[in-house]
């Protein structure tokens, strides 16, 4: 049983990490806890499901569509909401509150359009059957989620570490003023970050939506709660930290179900998280300074 549970934990951890990647990116670069990320996640899932049903598209087109569509939403949110707040030098919790408003709009807008009931991706989008190795069951989708999340983490980390744009993003994260001074198009990179972060949110919406196969307007809300835990535990905007924290949460949940009792799962997981914070007050990889706004 333990081997199966470890596989379960890995895939659940990757589910959380996948959601958290875009979330932590926007947190790191813009310094905003974007509480509409859950709604964007949901929008991505609905967009892909709709595209795929209406135009009978294959999954990869659905994923691409979701990425572009939610990315576009992220961009619009940035232009209409976050940018004016940056311009006005709003105190640092204010953008977060604005994104709550955005989430309310998106959640209820989707409900008004699609109704409240559960939708799903077209049957057969991805093989449902599990593969079996030595008594361990995994599905293609789980393998896909694990792979996608590790690949995305690798790509993002490499991009941030090695490319000029990545350096620029890190510069913005530390000090937009310093970034301006070296000639970084800070606004442009804010847009790009919002686009990519939201796109990743939408992408994770599709994959996780396929996993649960029950889409509903508020499906992003529970993810958002876990996602916040993950990105903060990982440390401000740290990609590697988000991945590790996602896995941490996944393992904490699965192992507490396996060995302590499922009714104590969240208490154990969050209790551990609490303790980790007491030991590492800046998260797992919190060497970065919090930007003083």
């Amino acid at each position: 049983m333990l081997d199966q549970q470890l596989v379960n934990a890995l895939s659940l951890g990757c589910v959380y990490a996948l959601f958290a990647l875009g979330f932590t990116l926007i947190f790191g670069v813009l310094g905003v806890i974007n509480l509409s990320h859950g709604a964007i996640f949901m929008v991505g899932a609905y967009a892909a499901a709709t595209f795929m049903r209406v135009f009978s598209l294959p999954l990869w087109m659905g994923l691409l569509g979701a990425f572009l569509f939610s990315g576009l939403f992220g961009l619009i949110i940035d232009v209409l909401v976050l940018k004016p707040l940056r311009k006005r030098n709003a105190p640092h919790l204010i953008p977060m509150i604005a994104t709550i408003g955005v989430a309310i709009i998106l959640n209820n807008g989707v409900q008004a359009i699609f109704g409240a009931e559960n939708l799903r991706f077209p049957a057969g989008t991805i093989p449902d059957d599990a593969l079996e190795f030595a008594g361990i069951h995994v599905t293609v989708l789980e393998l896909g989620i694990v792979m996608v999340s590790f690949v995305l983490m690798g790509v993002l980390m490499l991009a941030l570490k090695r490319t000029q744009m990545g350096r620029a993003l890190r510069a913005i994260a530390e000090s937009p003023k310093a970034a301006y001074l070296v000639g970084v198009n800070v606004e442009g990179l804010f847009y790009l970050t919002s686009f990519i972060a939201a796109g990743l949110g939408g992408l994770s919406g599709v994959l996780i939506g396929l996993y649960s196969n029950a889409l509903f307007p508020l499906m992003g809300q529970p993810m958002l709660e876990k996602g916040i835990a993950v990105i903060i535990l990982g440390g401000m905007g740290d990609i590697r930290g988000a991945m590790l924290a996602g896995l941490f949460l996944g393992f904490a949940e699965v192992l507490s179900v396996a060995y302590i009792g499922s009714s104590m799962r969240d208490a154990v997981a969050f209790g551990l998280l609490f303790l980790v914070l007491l030991v590492r007050p800046k998260g797992l990889f919190g060497s970065l300074q919090e930007r003083k706004v």
């Binding site: 000029q164 350096r167 620029a168 890190r170 510069a171 994260a173 530390e174 000090s175 003023k177 310093a178 301006y180 001074l181 070296v182 000639g183 970084v184 198009n185 800070v186 606004e187 442009g188 060497s287 970065l288 300074q289």
Partner: protein, 239 residues
């Protein structure tokens, strides 16, 4: 006299109801060191930030190399060749020294080889940066960070270097180094606009100098002239 490389006319900057810069004119000539001196709060930093596009100009016109750059976005100004080393240095402490330098070349499109060559040049100018290249910039001491800030600005291949109090908080020996370096890079042909509290030294190395008081330029002349000006001696040299 040749046409100025950078020309500022009627520059005004306000913060809310406070006018920090009240319509000033000045010019930078190619290959010269120009300095702007003044008391605390006179508006020196504000002027520099306005030149770089980091604070909004309420009025005025800035021409650089014959082109109007008044309303350009900050990154456009940098890629045009006007680069600033800001007050407090603004080194990126979470990046390594090398990364800071590489970021300096952010706006350049002339290939890795040219950038690497420039980096070597900066390493010869500031050998200590080479020793610490892979360390985090945040661990450098104040003086080393100042050198890094200047080096980073030079990585952008500037035509005009704007410096805001580069000597602040530095040990005397380092201050000497910095001023020596400034003159060296000036000799390489770089135009320098220097804002300093260290008025005596600034005037000593400046070809041209302006004195700013509460947002207005009250005196201008060559460095030597102002150094001998009794009003300057009285107000800024503390004699």
């Amino acid at each position: 006299m040749t046409a100025p490389l950078l020309k500022v006319e009627g520059l005004k900057v306000s913060f809310g109801h406070v006018e920090a810069v009240k319509g000033i004119d000045f010019q930078l000539h190619e290959g010269q060191i120009t300095t702007l001196v003044g008391a605390n709060g006179a508006g020196k930093s504000t002027t520099l930030l306005a030149l770089s596009g980091l604070v909004k100009k309420t009025a005025g016109r800035v021409t650089f190399d014959g082109q109007d750059i008044t309303g350009l976005a900050p990154h456009k100004i940098v890629s045009g060749g006007v680069v600033q080393v800001a007050e407090g240095r603004a080194t990126l402490t979470t990046l390594t020294v090398r990364e800071n330098l590489e970021l300096g070349a952010y706006t350049r499109r002339d290939g890795a080889a040219a950038r690497a060559a420039d980096m070597e040049r900066i390493f010869t100018l500031f050998p200590v940066l080479k020793d610490r290249a892979e360390g985090l910039a945040g661990n450098l001491s104040g003086g080393e960070q100042q050198m890094l800030a200047i080096g980073r600005a030079m990585m952008a291949k500037p035509r005009v270097l704007l410096l805001d109090e580069p000597s602040m908080g530095l040990a005397p020996i380092i201050v000497q180094d910095i001023f020596r370096t400034l003159r060296e890079i000036n000799k390489l042909g770089l135009t320098i606009f220097l804002v300093e509290q260290n008025v005596r030294q600034a005037l000593k190395i400046a070809d041209r100098a302006y004195v700013i008081e509460t947002g207005e330029i009250v005196l201008e002349g060559s460095g030597r002239e102002l150094l001998g000006n009794p009003r300057v001696q009285d107000a800024y040299l503390g004699n």
